[in-house]
Amino acid sequence: MEPIDIQQTPSTPLIKFDPVTSTLCIRGESYPENSFDFFEPVIAWLKAALTERTEILLDIAITYMNSSSTKCTFDIIDILEEAFERGVKASIIWRYDRENPRSYEMAEDFREEVTFPFEIEAIEV
């Protein structure tokens, strides 16, 4: 299966999978014209990848996301939770900027939704 590799734009994040470390990296900001269209291939890819892989780390650093991207991120986290319940070693590192308390609050809210390891780390500048 081809690893996903989406380039960053001002309104869409970089989304890249490293098959060696089994890490899905998301970086940047997310307020696409149509968030559901943008995230649809990511979600489809993730579902398929999780049928083959026994381990996955989501490494996420998003400065800003709009409400529909928040919904899509929730769906991604929900897919990881389902995979974890089937025995996949899922985990998240959520990186936030100390100057941006909203990102921390969002991470805390998401962490309450899951039972797998979910680390929240400040980005050291």
Partner: protein
């Protein structure tokens, strides 16, 4: 065309930036970028810049999505406006657009509902909506007004003016 009077109106309302016309995604993106640069230059905290930007994005994308979903005609779509004003220590972001008369009432009801909820109730509803499946073809998750409310210190302010038998003009303002 003399824009002096229009400019004076902007000054009186504290409007720093304003866009009027049909929004495209690239206009939303570029106007947002200009607005952020402007706010950063005013030396306000990064968190506040992001809150103003977030409210702007939700409002602008709401208008654009509404026009798409309801297939509002290009003539009516022309009257879409987004403005960012400085009011004392606060920033006010407003959007205005033509809506079908019946939708106008629904929007007012929804804004009043969000305004009447406590922060805890808003948070609970936000979570419920996150868990809900998105309707096919939907452009948003129905979270917009809650997202805006989360980032504002005051109640949302809205108004509805009837234009003709089909349309009303809906304005929504959030202060940060």
């Amino acid at each position: 065309m003399d824009l002096y009077d229009l400019r004076n109106e902007f000054d009186k309302s504290g409007i720093m930036m304003c866009f009027n016309g049909p929004f495209s995604h690239s206009i939303i993106e570029e106007t947002g970028k200009a607005m952020r640069n402007h706010l950063v230059a005013e030396n306000i905290a990064q968190a506040a810049v992001l809150d103003v930007f977030a409210v702007y994005i939700e409002l602008a994308q709401n208008v654009r999505n509404y026009i798409t979903v309801r297939a509002i005609s290009p003539l009516e779509a022309m009257s879409s406006i987004i403005a960012i004003a400085r009011q004392g220590e606060k920033y006010a972001v407003s959007s205005g657009n033509m809506v079908l008369n019946s939708d106008g009432e629904t929007l007012l009801t929804r804004v009043n509902e969000v305004n009447s909820m406590t922060p805890e109730e808003q948070k609970r509803q936000y979570r419920e909506l996150l868990r809900r499946d998105t309707a096919p073809g939907a452009l948003g998750a129905g979270l917009g007004f809650l997202e805006i409310s989360k980032r504002t210190s005051e109640k949302l302010v809205c108004s509805l003016r009837r234009v003709d038998d089909t349309y009303s003009f809906f304005t929504l303002t959030a202060s940060i």
